[in-house]
Point group: C2
Chain length 200, copies 2
């Protein structure tokens, strides 16, 4: 079990606050209050607010990584089924309020890509790292269904882009349904991409 130290309490608070209000608007004082720690503890554990953001991006990558690692979708024998089950899982995760299902690093990187390269790179590590976990299944499916004209890396990143775009639409429309609609199209793309090519 994870220790409930000040550090992890601050990280958990950061995840929630940044997903709600963004990086700049989430003040250190606010984070400390939400985490139930004093400001001194914050700067004891993180040299700067920027360092917290980098740590939060890594923390996000770890926690979500575990979620997907232990998910059921890996159980399917067919690689395409695994990919589609992954998409179904992403769709299922779109539940509750918007800050609860949207992506920390996708939110953060828009704000800081220009002003903070360290945070930007940490966000990219999280996104691309997650995308990489899909590449083996995609490679296997591409071979099995004789799909060419792209690469597992390229397709995995496209899936992440669609999902990130789904979150933007959900936020703008203030409606989770907008995200669901996007994920349904992503599923359809994958489906026909792998089943269509065979008919040629």
């Amino acid at each position: 079990m994870m220790k409930l130290t000040a550090r992890t309490k601050i990280l958990d608070a950061a995840l929630g606050a940044i997903r709600e209000t963004g990086y700049r608007a989430a003040s250190v004082d606010e984070l400390c209050a939400a985490a139930g720690v004093a400001k001194g503890s914050f700067f004891h554990h993180f040299k700067t607010k920027e360092a917290l953001a980098v740590a939060a991006a890594a923390y996000w990558g770890e926690t979500t990584g575990e979620l997907f690692e232990h998910a059921d979708y890996h159980r399917h024998d067919d690689p395409l089924d695994r990919i589609l089950a992954y998409i179904d899982l992403r769709k299922e995760l779109v539940r509750g309020d918007i800050p609860e299902f949207t992506c920390l690093v996708g939110t953060m990187v828009q704000e800081v890509y220009h002003s903070s390269p360290p945070i930007r790179d940490a966000c990219w590590r999280s996104i691309s790292g997650h995308a990489q976990t899909l590449e083996a299944d995609i490679a296997e499916a591409m071979e099995k269904f004789k799909v060419s004209g792209t690469t597992p890396e390229s397709l995995a990143l496209y899936m992440q882009a669609s999902i990130q775009g789904a979150f933007i639409l959900a936020k703008a429309a203030n409606d989770a349904g907008a995200a669901i609609n996007v994920i349904d199209h992503l599923r359809r793309y994958i489906e026909i991409l792998f089943t269509n090519e065979q008919k040629k």
Copy 2:
């Protein structure tokens, strides 16, 4: 020709600054300096910074709306060709530095969807308004190629989501190529969605 008043100078400065650094980080003083106007003028034209953001989202919708309205892709006879040419145009627009081709409202809405409903709604009007300009072509193509299982609105919004996701990846990877890769997949989806269904 547009009058070069303080108001439009501020709006133009806001477009650039917000796309670079985000809404919160773009301070009023900074915007005034970039626009070459005094702070008093800013608050003469916009009651609050939030009001500027709402106006900027509308202004963004107008200027980009004109760009697409007068673009060449409408000339194709075939509706599918028009859609694909639209995607090709979006791909061509991915040039130069990242702040120059990314979307103002997509950037802004992530930051403010929770804290400012007026800005959020203005962003949604811009996104959904642009998506609507694609619906007629999509409807025509769906009928011509006998595609069912979705709606023009749904597909138009998916296209916007993919493009927004493309921008997020480009920002995170600090590489416009990441956006190109996404748009290529979007094109492939549209292509096989309309040409595959016929073979069934």
